[in-house]
């Protein structure tokens, strides 16, 4: 430890401010996820459109946001966009816009892959039963695609939660910004950033466990004769091997 004495008092004093910062982080995360999950549907549908202009526009959008760093996107919206439009956005709004635009691109690709994983026969069965294109999407494709892609969607959301730390660079008072400020005031970087890391971990780890559990459950529920197995909690634990209970196909 290089003779360093860990000061627990610093942790206690910094915690209330950092929890406030966590509130901002969670706010940005939730708003971004909700908007992205909705916006990604039309983008994904556009990406699969038979009309070239729509397809190329959707793909262009996705590629721009997938292939440039999130920090550059954030700075571009906060610093460059005002130069272009003359409108200066507050840091919070810039952060939400940049993160939403970025997550929407990734989410749209996830949706598209999910949509395309739905067997064409199921969509055609809907067509044969007179369901409209929208109804096919609403009742057949989206529920299955969501279910299929849920682990990926949750992973993207975990990444987004961690990536919100970047908004501290445009002076949004999130957990990372508060941590940085406190650390600059008391020179206790080890305590403060360890605490910050712990808080991020405490939020992200349970979601990661749930993601793993859902993934395992999905692997086990395919095929005929599935019967629900052990509880979600049992399946959540890392490395847990849970065999699905099957009944003999009649």
């Amino acid at each position: 430890m290089n003779g360093y004495i860990f000061d627990w008092d610093v942790v206690g004093r910094a915690l209330p401010s950092m929890i406030q910062g966590l509130g901002v982080t969670l706010q940005i995360t939730v708003i971004t996820i909700v908007i992205s999950m909705i916006l990604a549907i039309p983008v994904a549908v556009g990406r699969m459109s038979k009309i070239e202009v729509i397809r190329w526009t959707a793909q262009g959008y996705i590629e721009i946001f997938r292939c440039t760093p999130l920090l550059v996107q954030l700075f571009w919206i906060f610093y460059a966009l005002p130069a272009l439009t003359g409108v200066t956005l507050p840091g919070y709004a810039s952060a939400v816009i940049a993160l939403t635009a970025n997550l929407t691109a990734f989410m749209a690709e996830t949706y598209r892959s999910g949509f395309q994983s739905v067997p064409v026969e199921q969509v055609e069965a809907g067509r044969m039963l007179q369901l409209s294109r929208f109804q096919q999407l609403r009742y057949i494709i989206v529920p299955q695609a969501m279910r299929q892609q849920l682990p990926v969607i949750l992973s993207l959301n975990i990444s987004l939660f961690k990536d919100t730390a970047l908004v501290s660079t445009i002076a949004v008072a999130d957990l990372m910004f508060i941590s940085n400020t406190i650390s600059a005031q008391n020179y206790r970087a080890l305590e403060i950033f360890t605490l910050a890391a712990f808080i991020y971990f405490a939020i992200a780890f349970p979601v990661s466990l749930i993601t793993s559990a859902i993934e395992r459950r999905m692997q086990n529920t395919s095929g005929p004769g599935f019967k629900p197995g052990p509880s979600l909690l049992a399946r959540m634990m890392p490395g847990t091997k849970v065999a699905a209970t099957k009944v003999a196909a009649s």
Partner: protein, 282 residues
């Protein structure tokens, strides 16, 4: 039979045989139905990437008939089914359903929408929506497309499931059913829309023979009790010989033989059909 009130114009080319290989004697149709033509296709053509899949196909189906369509993979039988179902448009030709022209001049006519709900289709696999239980699978379309009340839809679902012997599974998830059970529910789901024609694309190919027999029994009952016409693409020659009213043999995108099961399997001198039947039997 009362559902089929519109008499369709009788076509004279029901038993056409095409090409130079056509040597099978032509016989009158053996039908348990009224003899009225329900579906008629004339000069159907369809190509994919310059490969002709349907070459000027003429085809008739009568009310209450089971027509078994056989042929090698890629011979055009599934494409014909998809064209009749409206899942793919022919490049050319005319399709008439229940006396109404629904496809002509390379496009669907205004009558298409009205009759498309009278055609049901069951697929080879992935037939049910796995995220729903049997009841939801059955009632989604009637509720959403016809505004049927949930209670009425449930009653109708119970009746349709009863018809295929699956009523006790009404609340089961589709993933809990065996392959044969899923196909029977898929047939019942098609019945919910009260079709006059059910198209079945190799629905028994992934099933064990006894399970396939159960599914085929259901189709036979529908034909006998409800007068529903069934077009069935299959490689099950046992079923084709027992239950089919007509056997249509596709070869290279053309209907090479269109006759009775007896003629097709016992007295046929079409070499391609003989070769195909021998290959499938053994």
């Amino acid at each position: 039979m009362s559902r089929h009130s519109t008499p369709a114009p009788a076509r004279s080319t029901d038993l056409q045989q095409k090409g130079t290989q056509m040597t099978t004697p032509v016989h009158a149709p053996v039908s348990t139905g009224t003899g009225q033509v329900l579906v008629s296709a004339r000069g159907l053509q369809k190509s994919f990437h310059d490969r002709a899949i349907l070459k000027n196909v003429d085809f008739d189906m009568r009310i209450g008939d089971i027509t078994v369509i056989i042929g090698k993979s890629g011979s055009g039988k599934s494409t014909l089914l998809r064209a009749l179902a409206g899942l793919t448009d022919p490049d050319d030709g005319v399709i008439t359903f229940d006396g109404k022209t629904v496809f002509a001049d390379k496009k669907r006519t205004k009558d298409w929408g009205a009759v498309s709900s009278e055609v049901g289709m069951v697929f080879q696999a992935y037939t049910l929506w796995p995220h729903m239980n049997v009841l939801d699978n059955m009632t989604l379309a009637p509720r959403k497309t016809r505004g049927m009340a949930a209670s009425e839809a449930r009653d109708r679902a119970e009746a349709a499931l009863d018809e295929v012997g699956m009523k006790h599974h009404i609340l089961s998830r589709s993933t809990q059913l065996s392959g044969g059970e899923r196909q029977r529910v898929a047939i019942a789901r098609a019945l919910m829309m009260k079709p006059k024609l059910i198209l079945c694309d190799e629905i028994t190919s992934a099933l064990d023979p006894p399970v396939a027999a159960e599914v085929l029994d259901v189709l036979r009952r529908l034909k006998e009790e409800d007068g529903i016409a069934v077009a069935l693409v299959t490689h099950d020659m046992a079923f084709a010989s027992k239950a089919a009213d007509r056997v249509v043999f596709f070869h290279n995108g053309e209907i090479a033989v269109n006759t009775t099961p007896e003629m097709a399997f016992e007295n046929c001198d079409n070499p391609d059909l003989q070769k195909f039947v021998d290959a499938v039997r053994f």
